[in-house]
């Protein structure tokens, strides 16, 4: 147990605490405002207005796009599945796809599935040793029958930011008919996400990554593009996504998006300083350590640190014993035994690869927590080094 007797939560890229303000905004919709927005009575009609407001909030937060360009989903994984399948369904004759080697599984596994089962040819663009995208590789990969490029804006494991607007321009210059889908799950709330320039065609966000609850996401889809629903049924979301709306979640995410914009500066000053202190502290106190992606642009809250010849899970377990939450890559791959595909793509040596920890900070973290982790980490690593056959 750490001396604060409470959780030190440095795992904000996995999920975030719902903001108290967001909770109070959504609570009425779990309570008395339970009407169905599609109902033919004022009790339900009022709720439809609250959904409209949330849609406007999201549209505004994404750079004043049209509210009709926002479709609510249950998570970013749904958004990306919906986006990709819709584009492919509308253009069945084109069979080449491009993505990166470091995408989140909700894009990567989908593309692998399309490759294996649906006859698509997929090019997986690589990254350099800092995790930065190989733009030349991208440029030469775009062909006449490339229907879609799917690319993340910021990497969930390392925080590395791709030059997404530049990527968009490269795509459209080479082939104006290629669609551009962006996974902005880890970018939104950490760096400005402005879609008003029209470079991005489709984009996904997930509420629980910016202090809304889990189970709500959104897809931005440029108004020129017809969305073919993944969930077919009722007329909700203008027949683009069937199923009774998660009203409380939608309202919550609308408010959380507004807050995310408001807190953007805090994220880029205070949170960044905490992250920098944490990683500089660790690297200076602990030998045989490597910060992955430090040589390129990263979101301000994330640091991915490799400890040579120390196994990552073991570090996490020891941190967890002290109520410190961190992660070894994306939460949704943590149950698997494979090392991070992101670090692997960066060419991180095996001796470091298995010993990687992600600390992702956020709105509610403070310097005391950083200080405590800086105090405890050397002790943990020293203890574990004694067990390792390769250290000392």
């Amino acid at each position: 147990m750490n001396p604060y007797e409470k959780i030190i939560y440095f795992d904000n890229n996995a999920t975030t605490k719902t903001d108290d303000e967001v909770i109070s905004v959504m609570l009425p919709f779990l309570g008395e405002m339970y009407g169905n927005p599609s109902s033919m009575h004022t009790f339900g009609g009022q709720v439809a207005k609250d959904i409209r407001k949330a849609r406007e909030q999201i549209a505004t937060a994404l750079g004043a796009v049209l509210p009709s360009e926002i479709v609510f989903t249950s998570c970013a994984s749904e958004s990306s599945n919906m986006a990709v399948r819709s584009i492919l369904e509308s253009n069945p004759e084109k069979k080449h796809l491009i993505t990166t080697q470091v995408e989140h599984p909700c894009v990567l596994n989908l593309f692998k599935w399309l490759e294996r089962h649906k006859n698509y040819k997929v090019t997986y663009i690589g990254v350099d040793s800092e995790g930065q995208l190989n733009l030349d590789e991208l440029k030469v990969s775009i062909k006449e029958d490339t229907i879609l490029v799917a690319c993340m804006w910021a990497n969930n494991e390392t925080g590395v930011i791709f030059p997404i607007k530049e990527i968009g321009k490269i795509i459209k210059e080479k082939n104006p008919n290629t669609y551009f889908f962006v996974d902005a799950v880890q970018a939104f709330g950490k760096i400005p996400v402005d879609l008003s320039d029209g470079i991005i065609d489709l984009l996904s966000i997930s509420g629980h990554k910016f202090h809304a609850p889990k189970g709500i996401g959104a897809l931005y889809i440029r108004n020129k593009i017809k969305l073919r629903p993944l969930l077919i049924g009722g007329h909700q979301e203008k027949s683009r996504r069937a199923g009774t709306e998660n009203v409380a979640g939608i309202v919550a995410m609308g408010h959380a998006a507004e807050l995310a914009v408001k807190y953007l500066e805090d994220e880029n000053t205070r949170v960044r300083a905490l992250r920098d202190k944490l990683e500089q502290g660790i690297i200076s106190k602990i030998p045989y350590t490597k910060i992955n992606g430090i040589g390129t642009e990263r979101v301000p809250n994330t640091t991915n640190i490799s400890f040579e010849y120390i196994e990552g899970e073991l570090i996490l377990l020891h941190l967890s014993d002290l109520n410190i939450c961190a992660s070894s890559g994306s939460a949704c791959t943590s149950d698997t035994l494979k090392p991070s595909h992101v670090l692997d793509a960066m060419g991180v040596p095996f001796s470091f690869l298995h010993g990687s920890i992600r600390f992702s900070l956020g709105r509610y973290n403070n310097e005391k927590e950083v200080d405590y982790v800086l105090e405890i980490m050397p002790q943990i690593i020293e203890k574990l080094a004694r067990i390792s056959p390769f250290r000392k």
Binding site: Y309, I310, E311, E313, L314, L317, H318, S320, D321, S334, D335, T336, L337, P339, F350, S351, L353, H354, R386, I387, S388, P389, F390
Partner: protein
């Protein structure tokens, strides 16, 4: 998160018999850094073929450490004949179970023990 038993937790938190035996008369090593699992086992075996000391060094996850730790605990005081009867199942039972994705840790422990005993006989030759 893995569903580790309290015994597993106890052993990765405070592993027993960590380190090298400088005058070991049996050493075994298995695994590779590439896969993220390396187990090294040191035994001290007396003239009556009783294991008087056992130590390990492991690069691996929580259950790899715990499996190694209990292996050494079980080995100390055992005759070689009894040690040979240890299977990965023995280790799993001792730990009160392992998640199915982690069974391979116990298998590696069995393998490193085999390596170790092979090394003992080779040295004796």
């Amino acid at each position: 998160m893995w569903d580790y038993t309290d015994i597993v937790k106890e052993h990765y938190r405070n592993p027993k018999n960590v380190g090298e035996i400088l005058d070991a008369n049996a050493i075994g090593e298995i695994g590779s850094v590439v896969c993220g699992d390396v187990l090294k086992l040191y035994l001290k075996i007396d003239e009556n073929e009783i294991i008087t000391d056992a130590k390990f060094q492991t690069f691996g996850c929580g259950s790899a450490i715990a499996s190694s730790s209990v292996l050494t605990e079980m080995l100390i005081g055992k005759s070689i004949e009894d040690a040979k009867k240890i299977t990965n199942k023995t280790i799993i039972d001792y730990l009160g179970g392992l998640p199915k994705e982690k069974i391979h840790c116990s298998v590696m422990c069995k393998e490193v023990l085999d390596e170790c005993l092979k090394n003992y006989y080779e040295k004796k030759k």
